[in-house]
Symmetry: none
Subunit: 543 residues, 2 copies
Amino acid sequence: MESILLYDTTLRDGTQGENINFSAHEKIKIAECLDDLGIHYIEGGWPGSNPRDMQFFDLSKNIKLKNARLTAFGSTRKPGVDPGDDFNVKALLESKAPAVTIVGKSWDLHVEQVMNNTLEENLAMIRDTVEFLKHNGLEVLYYAEHFFDGYRENRDYALQTLTAAVDGGADFIVLCDTNGGTLPFELESMIGDARETLHGKDGIPTKEKPIKIGIHTHNDCGLAVANSITAVKAGAVMVQGTINGYGERCGNADLTSIIPILHTKMKYPCISSQNLTKLKKVSRFVSETANLVPRNDRPFVGKSAFAHKGGLHVNAIMKVPRAYEHMNPEDIGNNRRVLVSDLSGKSNVEYKAKELGVELGENGLDSRKIVSEIKRMEQEGFQFDVADGSLKILLEKFTQQFSPLFELESFRVSIEKNKDQPCSSQATIKISVDNREEITAAEGYGPVSALDNALRKALGKFFPDLDTMRLVDFKVRVIDGREGTAAKVRVLIDSRDQDNLWSTIGVSEDIIEASWQALNGLFARSLRYAQNFILGISTICLR
Amino acid sequence: MESILLYDTTLRDGTQGENINFSAHEKIKIAECLDDLGIHYIEGGWPGSNPRDMQFFDLSKNIKLKNARLTAFGSTRKPGVDPGDDFNVKALLESKAPAVTIVGKSWDLHVEQVMNNTLEENLAMIRDTVEFLKHNGLEVLYYAEHFFDGYRENRDYALQTLTAAVDGGADFIVLCDTNGGTLPFELESMIGDARETLHGKDGIPTKEKPIKIGIHTHNDCGLAVANSITAVKAGAVMVQGTINGYGERCGNADLTSIIPILHTKMKYPCISSQNLTKLKKVSRFVSETANLVPRNDRPFVGKSAFAHKGGLHVNAIMKVPRAYEHMNPEDIGNNRRVLVSDLSGKSNVEYKAKELGVELGENGLDSRKIVSEIKRMEQEGFQFDVADGSLKILLEKFTQQFSPLFELESFRVSIEKNKDQPCSSQATIKISVDNREEITAAEGYGPVSALDNALRKALGKFFPDLDTMRLVDFKVRVIDGREGTAAKVRVLIDSRDQDNLWSTIGVSEDIIEASWQALNGLFARSLRYAQNFILGISTICLR
């Protein structure tokens, strides 16, 4: 079976997405990470379009990639200009990338109505630019923008643009569904036709050197992954996409889905099984660098991708995991998760207790009581499937294994604002540890910050080595209580150390009370998690 | 071309998703909304599994659906039990739903290894249960769980389970890719085989009454939409899915993608063009009810689905929209967005000013200054594309058309907590209106509530007829400032009267300061919006 080449464009097309920006240094880090994953081509940017991308290529001269070739993106020469005199084409040479991807127009609508160009000159632009870059010793990929839209409206012209690139000596022809509107059935037959044209008796390609076809799709119909794998079945040997499917509008084809499908389901050689286990980490690294919350429901790599909530499902996977898992989560570096909620039963609680290291009573009494308590509290607005930390405390309380680190005696927070001056906040707090009391006060950037500072100061007396941890997220939601009762606020706090993510939850009609519950959950649990909150809350959140 | 029936399971399978919970009343509202969209079957829940779903069916007796049939979900009878004596089957009858969907096992692995049942008894369970429900006058859909997995491992048995349901008199056979691991190519041929079996010479179905096939897919490979439309091409006449693709793990097939593909791209009759324009609203209504942030990049209905960032793209769509749009966004109730940038900012601001009824200076000076102020503030963490209310104030301030209703002199809030007692909050506030001052104090369920009560009391002196309005949402987000500066909190307040949604935003290192900015935006705007906040904040939010 032919190997499939993976071409990543996170660094160029990915940054067209709303909210996505990378510095040149961040791009370098991502390129190294993609190389380590085993990606074959990494498109670094469009050197002719902005200084940051040029800086990226400058920086790239100092790094060594193990597997990947770096590619630079650019467009065909301008009408009537010699490729050697074209600013954009020259920038490609200056980038020193060993491979270049040249975008040209395959849709007559763009040539005539957007660019006010002639169809003939457009063909010459494609041919000349490819030829010029080949003469300069580069590997050249021709990127047929809007190929499928163009084919639909003027088949012959769309195919002529491909032939022009072949005439220029292109190594790859990349067929693009730029607007993302093509269905797999259509795409398959159009690729078939393109292959026939390129490999036909009049085309230049010979059996010894067939033109290689690539596919580049967008997700406007939710079909980018399906279109990519359909193209591979139809003969494409290169798939272009981005990590997490980041990209303009609805995004590009998501390599984090395509790679495991090609590798595990379709059995095409593309990356090694060992590299496949890095997939989730790569996905997270890119979302963290982009500063975007990772989608829980992302296929293969999302936090919920192998999460089980229904009681019957949990019961089944405890016997046979593949009963409700289409593949082994560890193969892609992900893991199975069992959620506890009012939809769940005894099996879920017992599974979680084991995972969280809490001993339950032998006869199942504990787990039955816990299920009913969870159901009652979820009716109140708690949601334990998102707060393992609070669930662990609940399990420990039920089984008399819980001992809090400290007791709150009282706190008081005051906030003042005068005219246009910023708010100022002060807190006093009194706590006790093993019956020894401590009272202290602190200021803060806001009420929770002041409270946090005061608590840290008070706890510091008993636990002097509080160190720095990271708070990941702080979410406040208004929730509906049961009918007839008042509405409530739910506060969810996520914190993290190097290895673990830890979430606690608080529900109250009062946001400070709800925050206190979630915070108290962290403290109660262990000093380690307490630190997360203490530092996290003051550096990242609710100042 | 045959009509395709749309079957929504947001209320049952959708709630299996992490973070998704609906009350029975919310379910009723969603059912009415789906009916209005033109969905043909609405699965309300599993009456035998939990009291909330039973309550839903009780409540449903008081509503009238225009188009849709309500269906209840349940499993086949237990082994060795008569259907009439089975608790779960009886609950289906009690639900009074006119149609029922019966899940049975099509994968021998589940029958033998999970349920410890015999293959023969499983077939009898399917046949008997369907037959019993048909005898009770119901429309019966047989839901062949894990059909594709079962087919892959034991084709003959998987097909026998379908035949058992047909023998029992099922109206529909719904083929399920329960684990979401099937590729479109495989699925297509398996459906072909199933149809041949069911319609073959030995099967009961005749030409006059062919068995109708439905498809139910999950998105574990990012292929649920592709699999659904492939099944339709292969002869399925019913598509099951959920709004926004909500569901367990990576979700179910997303009806908000499938509907426009079937309607607009494949031209199957399914819903009217007029109803199609409601699609985005329905998507938003469900995400709001689920209290989940809508995905911007969701195909068709997402906020970014028709957003253009790149300068070249904006230039092109201004000439020919379809140059970078695969369909007309208005057809699904969505709209084109041009993101603020150096290229597009001026025309964008002028467009918004017109929309919000603010006069700008003739010579374009105002709009240029406003663009640069917006860019500066967005760098700080503001986001005006989500807060038209604040944008309007900004535009008015820039053009000297802004006059605030009142001035804040000062406020002070204090919060106290003792041991396990709930928090208590008090606020004092001093404001002035036309140079007349007022100072007062109030208690509240939390600091913002106390502040709100005090402010309401003070304003009441000048504006005695404050009345009741609704606050829709209050969101707190942690945002990252520029590199090297401290992180901030963004507070977004949505309020609504009968006709308008009004959003204001505040950004600060201090949550109370950020809330005050957003709140002040409401007050500053008009008394009408001030009321929203006053009542809203105290009844719904941050108590």
